[in-house]
């Protein structure tokens, strides 16, 4: 049987760059078919007529730029893998691109300097299926990844990202010496990290001078944590159910207090359960407003072709509120008006930690 060749579309207004990319991508082991477009309009035409697997897109282009294209393709072609290849070394653009759901963001100069790694990343993206697991190593749980790192007696820092949550594991000569996640350190942080089911990870250089806070052998810790996760997933008695739900409520309240939020309401889709509210009695009208605001924003975004709704926010003299969507649920997060810091980022973290 003939092996299926994927198609890659490169979008950039610089034709010399397109030629260079085409030559570079010829080195991909799976020999994909390379298509090129020098304008957003041309790229959208090609996407309509060709089954493209991966789009590599520049950001700064005349007329329709990369962010607009990404917003459009994310809605029209949710299965399409997307990579941003930009000359702009700007954290804001990077985070906006990731917020639009791109799989990778590379700076052009870095890509030329590190072309082998770039090719490997693309090859991995082309072959990746929609399975849970950690990006880069298919269908491997975090436990597997940690065991692999420790068995190879390596020294490194694993940086794990799950949405807005970032955590770190310090491994020194094959031993786990510390972990950091959601404000926790040591074993507590390690347990939280292991409950994550998906995310991305990267290897950072080792930090041999990092303070050791975890003394237990990694295998013992992995075993204990696996037992905890199993027990949480399969509560056996009514008491253990009650205990677990009580523990969760305490955990959520402490999250709310730690971050300084006024209230959080988690709202499932209609007919799929009851909303869960902490910190407010005014649940029903707020749930109605939140549902309506999200539906209205979605409709407006589609009509204006403005891309997916990232968030809806509102404020008055007393309060600031934020509507976020996560895994089919809506969250309304309320903050006092005097709350400081990046409230959007804080709300995302709160929401991401809600069920973990």
């Amino acid at each position: 049987m003939m092996e299926k060749r994927h198609k890659i579309l490169i979008l950039d207004d610089d034709t010399d760059w397109l030629t260079l990319c085409r030559e570079m991508l010829a080195a991909l082991p799976s020999r994909p078919e390379i298509l090129t477009a020098n304008s957003g309009k041309r790229a959208l035409s090609l996407l309509e007529s060709e089954p493209v697997r991966l789009l590599i897109c520049d950001l700064k282009m005349p007329r329709i730029d990369g962010l607009q294209i990404l917003a459009i393709v994310r809605r029209r072609y949710p299965e399409l893998r997307t990579v941003v290849l930009s000359g702009l070394e700007d954290e804001d653009f990077r985070s906006r691109a990731y917020a639009l759901g791109v799989d990778l963001f590379w700076i052009k100069m870095e890509m030329q300097r590190n072309s082998k790694l770039f090719i490997e990343c693309l090859e991995s993206l082309l072959g990746r299926d929609d399975e849970p697991g950690f990006r880069g190593i298919q269908s491997k749980s975090l436990m597997d990844i940690i065991q692999m790192e420790c068995l190879s007696r390596s020294s490194s820092v694993l940086r794990i990202t799950r949405g807005p949550l970032v955590s770190k594991l310090w491994i020194q000569d094959g031993e786990l010496i510390d972990a950091e996640a959601e404000g926790a350190r040591g074993e507590a942080a390690f347990r939280r990290i292991l409950s994550w089911k998906s995310g991305t990870f990267e290897n950072l250089p080792a930090e041999p001078d990092h303070e050791r806070l975890i003394m237990k052998p990694v295998n013992a810790l992995l075993l204990e944590t696996a037992q905890d996760i199993d027990e949480a997933a399969n509560p056996i008695t009514p008491e253990s159910i009650e205990q677990s739900s009580h523990r969760k409520s305490i955990w959520k309240l402490s999250l709310l207090t730690r971050e300084g939020a006024d209230f959080v309401i988690a709202i499932p889709p209609e007919g799929m359960g009851e909303p869960e509210a902490l910190g407010t009695q005014l649940v029903t009208p707020l749930v109605q407003w939140t549902r309506h605001a999200a539906a209205l924003a979605r409709r407006l975004g589609e009509r204006l072709e403005a891309g997916p709704v990232m968030q809806v926010t509102g404020q008055n003299l007393e309060r600031q509120v934020l509507v976020l969507e996560r895994e089919e649920r809506l969250f309304l997060v309320g903050w006092p008006v005097e709350a400081t810091g990046n409230l959007l980022e804080k709300s995302r973290k709160l929401v991401a930690s809600w069920d973990s």
Binding site: G40, K41, R42, L44, S45, E48, S49, L59, K60, M61, P62, I64, D65, G66, L67, Q68, A71, I72, S86, L88, D92, F93, R96, A99, L100, L282, P285, L286, Q288, W289, H292, A293, L296, A297, R299, L300, G301, R303, L304, E305, A306, G307, P308, V309, M310, Q311, V312, T313, G314, Q315, N316, L317, R319, Q320, V321, L322, T340, N342, L343, L344
Partner: protein, 105 residues
């Protein structure tokens, strides 16, 4: 040979994003606008109507709001309540323009 292409050509159909400011009265009528005149008026009316609806429903939910922002992948809409009407700022999120100054949220 190009004759059929005139009828069957694939159109990308990309819509321009609005940039500028509009003010709407309490009935949703557009009072002033700095958005390009080529941008469809009915879309601007939709924006005005939806924003007023969000303000009035927030009041009904006992959470009156003075400002509402809708952040889309490529467009940011910020609306301030103005005596029952609203002033609405439309910023396309493009790499060609500087990031608009964000409020705290």
């Amino acid at each position: 040979m190009g004759f059929l292409k005139r009828f069957f050509r694939v159109r990308a159909g990309v819509q321009q994003l609005p940039t500028g400011t509009i003010t709407v009265d309490r009935n949703g009528h557009i009072i002033t606008s700095t958005v390009s005149s080529t941008y469809p008026k009915n879309f601007l009316r939709d924006i005005g109507r939806d924003v007023l609806e969000l303000f009035s429903e927030a009041r009904a939910a006992q959470m009156p709001l003075a400002e509402i922002s809708l952040q889309f992948g490529s467009l940011h809409i910020t609306a301030r309540e103005l005596r029952g009407g609203a002033i609405i700022f439309l910023f396309p999120q493009t790499a060609l323009l500087p990031t608009p100054t964000r409020s705290r949220l």
